[in-house]
Amino acid sequence: MSLYYVQKFLYELNRDPKVQESYRQDPEVAYQGFDLTDEEKRALTEPDIGLLFVFGVNGQILMHFAAFHQVDWQDYLQKMRDGVDEHGEVRDGVYKVTGYEGVEAHASALGQESNIGEE
């Protein structure tokens, strides 16, 4: 696990057209210099938005990567929810601080109705 380098790669990709071009041409080449596991490379290449969220990638980085792949907003949110269902709780990063156990459980922990569906 190297959340730092997954996020760093996405940070570079989000802001640098040259990295975007390299990633489009040959992801393996684009990943050079970033200490990534095979699982992380697979998630980035596919891309598996849900698994990247479970790794702990910050949404402020991940949402731009989703937009880069033409994933629309509601679909982006759903992919993260599906990722938690499939792979379990967020493993690292800022969302791990209090644990992330899914939208409904999180809403009830706050004593609130989930207002997600109302969007």
């Binding site: 989000n14 910050n58 402020q60 800022v94 992330y100 809403a107 609130q112 207002n115």
Partner: protein, 273 residues
């Protein structure tokens, strides 16, 4: 000149990027109040607007993350996001490196900040500018507080940063306005996106409008994270503006939760004597 204007405003990218998906009634009321804030700002005839934003990994990353940073360039480009996604065209915004340098030098007497001669605006700065300086003709001095990559500077330091900005604004001959952007409770870009803790927001704004230093500085990161999401780290920008206007009181122009914008949309000003 003494500071001429101080305010706070929401900056969530959905405000412009997902405008068509919001309830038009509440959205238009929010926009109308943003425009009212623009008129109040313009009436103070500022020479420059000092925008305290919360960076979202557009310029800074965890390889070298400043707690506080201030831009020092003659122009800035934005948005870094896809203009179509954000709903804001690509623009070049005027800066003033010399004014930045003078203000930074004054701020540094009490707060150790970073400066940046390159800076690309993300939604945290460009969304408020889109409403407050729609022709992008007012000189901007961008500032950033790390609100996303812990460890974050304590709220007490955000307050001191605000006090230092005030001293710097008062020390230059130009007429300076300041705006803090961000928050309040929100879970941006996560599966919880759209969740808003309205009672928490209203309690925070009550403290802010009274410039209640003790109340504002009493939030802990952990409890704020639990109650108000990782986006609540951005209250630092509001705390800085409160520090810059210590002893004053504020006026709430607008507050309403707009879930598709992922945030309780907030606009407020603080009286500057």
């Amino acid at each position: 000149m003494p500071l001429v204007f101080a305010g706070v405003a929401s900056h969530a990218p959905g405000i412009t990027g997902r405008a068509d998906q919001a309830d038009p009634v509440v959205r238009d009321e929010f926009y109308a109040n943003y425009d009212k804030m623009r008129q109040e700002l313009e009436a103070t005839r500022p020479d420059a607007i000092f925008v305290i934003g919360a960076e979202h990994f557009a310029n800074f990353f965890m390889n070298n993350m400043p707690a506080f940073a201030v831009g020092m360039a003659d122009s800035y480009e934005g948005p870094i996001e896809d203009p179509e996604w954000l709903g804001i065209e690509a623009v070049t915004v005027p800066g003033n490196a010399d004014l930045s340098k003078r203000m930074i030098s004054e701020i540094m007497k009490t707060v150790d900040i970073s400066y940046a001669e390159e800076w690309k605006f993300d939604h945290g700065i460009i969304v408020p500018l889109h409403f407050l300086t729609p022709r992008y003709d007012l000189t901007v001095i961008p500032a950033n507080i790390n609100c996303q990559g812990p460890p974050l500077a304590p709220l007490s330091r955000a307050w001191e940063f605000g006090r230092a900005i005030r001293r710097a604004a008062d020390s230059v001959p130009e007429r300076i306005a300041i705006i803090g952007t961000g928050g309040l409770s929100h879970w941006p870009a996560t599966p919880d996106s759209g969740k808003i803790n309205e009672p928490w927001d209203r309690e925070f704004m009550d403290r802010w409008l009274r410039n209640d230093k003790e109340g504002l500085l009493s939030y802990t990161d952990r409890q704020a994270y639990i109650d108000a999401g990782q986006g609540a780290g951005e209250i630092r920008t509001y705390v800085a503006v409160a520090g810059a206007t210590e002893g004053s009181t504020g006026d709430l122009l607008f507050y309403a939760p707009i879930p598709i914008f992922s945030v309780g949309c907030t606009l407020a000003t603080m009286k500057v004597a």
